[in-house]
């Protein structure tokens, strides 16, 4: 019987079928961050003898508010840190940290065919490696820390075939926004999305992570891409991965994690994306996007229009901004920062612009290339790595009515601060918009020549 990628990973991890279509599913890796882990860790400490199934399967990290901003968040970090120390859990603390979904792959903690869970909805990012990686609640995470397993209803499958090479300035972010606009921001609920097709084959791991990161924005349980040479090259030589023949043996095993031809899916959709253009959201959910050249739709909901302070028919490019943000688990890896820097080089931002690398390792790599100079020469703020403005939890919070263009993943009301208005876009579009002070494409930012032609 031909199987989908998801089915192969699922079946390799079902420990026990449970009543009502539930299954006890083994979790190979748990990523634990400081906001959602402490209540579960305390529950286990108080009521279950502080026992963990296997501390070696856990990595812990401070990312959401890191460093702490006040006593409460300091306590969250301290509980995570003390717990990790007590159990000898690998801990990525201030200085070696970053956003968990950026650091986990960077440090080789995710690999094809694995199951991975974290108390964070954007865990689906890691499905880019052909893992079944999903966000869960604190209690479910605590159960997995205690017993190594989750209780899950088996999700349905949705295969999305993407054909054609990205051109015309379109990026993986635009692909993600386009897919959500087509299937809807709840259209993937209770499904696992398998992304396939020639477009996926041509994407780097950074790009696949951007795409899978936003699978949750369709309501999907997660998104997955089958592993290939791009995946193996990314993992080869990483920390926490073996080297030499042992690594190649793993690769041989990973090759089996591909969808069989003729595998069945509950739903299948195909998109030709060779004509895709940069996309920008205008509304209050990630499905409400149009091409950058577009206008606010005539059939826009009154609630979205009111919250966003918009009228139908308004060109996106005419919208003036109060802030720009480049960062988050969607778009803060080195390739994202390079794309933003390519636009900003030689220009100045005209609205407050925050650039937050996805990890301290990304930050250092960017600085070795001089990207921090490009951002700071342009007048942007170059920060340490954290989740930051994306979720309005620590720095860069929007005031009511402020309009921000952001390389992040959610534009729900209040996401980046009460009353704040968020437009999601790619790092290049955010950078161009930061220069022009309104929503804009990179092609609008005039190329500055240096050297002989500079006046």
């Amino acid at each position: 019987m031909p199987q989908s990628l998801f089915e192969k990973v699922w079946e390799a991890h079902v420990v026990e079928e449970l009543p009502g279509g539930n299954a006890l599913v083994f979790v190979d890796r748990i990523v634990a961050h400081e906001i959602t882990t402490p209540p579960g860790a305390l529950e286990i400490e108080r009521n279950f003898g502080d026992r963990l199934f296997d501390p070696n399967r856990i990595m812990a990290i401070c990312d959401h508010v890191a460093p702490a901003k006040d006593t409460e968040t300091a306590i969250q970090g301290k509980i995570l840190r003390d717990w990790a120390k007590r159990h000898r859990i690998a801990m990525y603390d201030i200085g070696q940290n970053g956003i968990c979904h950026v650091v986990a792959p960077e440090r080789g903690y995710v690999e094809p065919g694995m199951t991975l869970a974290c108390g964070d909805s954007h865990t689906c990012t890691l499905g880019a490696f052909g893992a079944f990686a999903l966000g869960i609640g604190t209690t479910a995470q605590a159960g997995a820390m205690l017993a190594g397993c989750l209780i899950l209803q088996r999700p349905k499958t949705l295969r999305i075939e993407l054909e054609g090479r990205l051109a015309h300035g379109a990026t993986a972010k635009d692909l993600a926004l386009y897919v959500i606009s087509q299937i809807g921001f709840k259209g993937g609920t209770n499904h696992v999305i398998e992304y396939a097709g020639s477009t996926i084959d041509s994407l780097s791991m950074d790009e696949r992570m951007t795409l899978c990161n936003m699978a949750i924005e369709t309501g999907a349980t997660t998104g997955m891409c089958a592993p290939d040479e791009t995946t193996y090259s990314y993992l080869r030589g990483r920390e926490n991965q073996p080297s030499g023949a042992e690594f190649e043996r793993k690769v041989s095993r990973w090759r089996s994690f591909a969808a069989d031809s003729g595998a069945g899916y509950e739903r299948q959709i195909r998109f030709d994306v060779s004509e895709l253009r940069p996309m920008v959201t205008w509304g209050t959910n990630p499905g409400e996007s149009v091409p950058l050249d577009g206008v606010v739709p005539a059939d826009a909901s009154a609630a979205s229009l009111e919250y966003m302070g918009l009228e139908p028919g308004t060109p996106l490019r005419s919208l003036e901004l109060d802030q720009a943000f480049i960062g988050s688990c969607t778009n803060s890896r080195l390739s994202d920062l390079r794309a933003a820097a390519d636009v900003l080089r030689g220009h100045a931002v005209t609205v407050p612009t925050i650039v937050t690398p996805g990890s301290q390792a990304v930050k250092r790599a960017a600085e070795r290339e001089g990207l921090h100079d490009v951002f700071q020469d342009a007048g942007a703020l170059w920060t340490h790595s954290t989740c930051g403005p994306c979720l309005g939890m620590s720095m860069g919070v929007l005031a009511p009515g402020m309009r921000c263009i952001s390389s992040t993943n959610r534009n729900f009301p209040g996401r980046m601060g009460a009353g704040g208005r968020v437009h999601l876009a790619s790092p290049a579009v955010v950078a161009a918009s930061a220069v022009l002070g309104r929503i804009a494409g990179p092609e609008e930012v005039t190329i500055v020549t240096t050297g002989a032609f500079a006046s």
Partner: protein, 176 residues
């Protein structure tokens, strides 16, 4: 288990977790104490709660409730405010799972049934029998996940998991 239900109608679809409880309020280390933050991120949310019946204990809302973040604080804040059930045509997956482990019944009914429930003031929910009785005598049936129903009514999710540790270790040893 019977809920003598006083309805709070949240007549909107897609209430996401940022509206239920914004991220800047997720700074606790316990699973309780979040009731005062309920709907702090929802446009009009505070007025909605101010105008609610003082005994309001059942939320009735439209589709895709709880979409967005995995934060269990969303379920905690609703429960801590005294709610025992949320009735909607559909839920986001993670919220749906979180509700079950926190004594908050996630009850799925049809969109048409939600229309009448949004107008109801008092309802009676029998969780064991999986029925809702409206004031006019109308009876609506629903089904709960049979395994999670046990956690909902009696708690014990972590105890259930703890009992499986040895089996899981055996399974893992066989896999390796």
């Amino acid at each position: 288990m019977i809920i003598d239900g006083y309805v709070l109608a949240v007549d909107r679809a897609d209430v996401d977790t940022d509206q239920i409880i914004p991220a800047h309020l997720l700074t606790g280390i316990e699973t309780s104490g979040y009731g005062r933050h309920l709907f702090r991120g929802m446009p009009g949310g505070l007025e909605l709660l101010e105008n609610a019946h003082p005994k309001a204990n059942v939320l009735v809302t439209r589709e895709n409730f709880g979409c967005g973040s995995s934060r269990e604080h969303a379920a905690w804040s609703i429960r801590d405010r005294g709610f025992r059930a949320v009735i909607a045509p559909s839920f986001a997956r993670i919220f749906h799972e979180n509700a079950y482990t926190n004594g908050l019944a996630p009850i799925v009914v049809t969109a048409a049934q939600v229309e009448s429930l949004l107008r109801a003031e008092r309802i009676e929910i029998d969780l064991a029998e999986e029925t809702i009785l409206l004031g006019d005598g109308t009876r609506v049936t629903f089904s709960l996940d049979p395994l999670r129903k046990q956690f909902l009514l009696e708690g014990g999710y972590m105890e259930f998991m703890a009992k499986r540790v040895d089996d899981v270790r055996t399974w893992l040893a066989a896999r390796a």
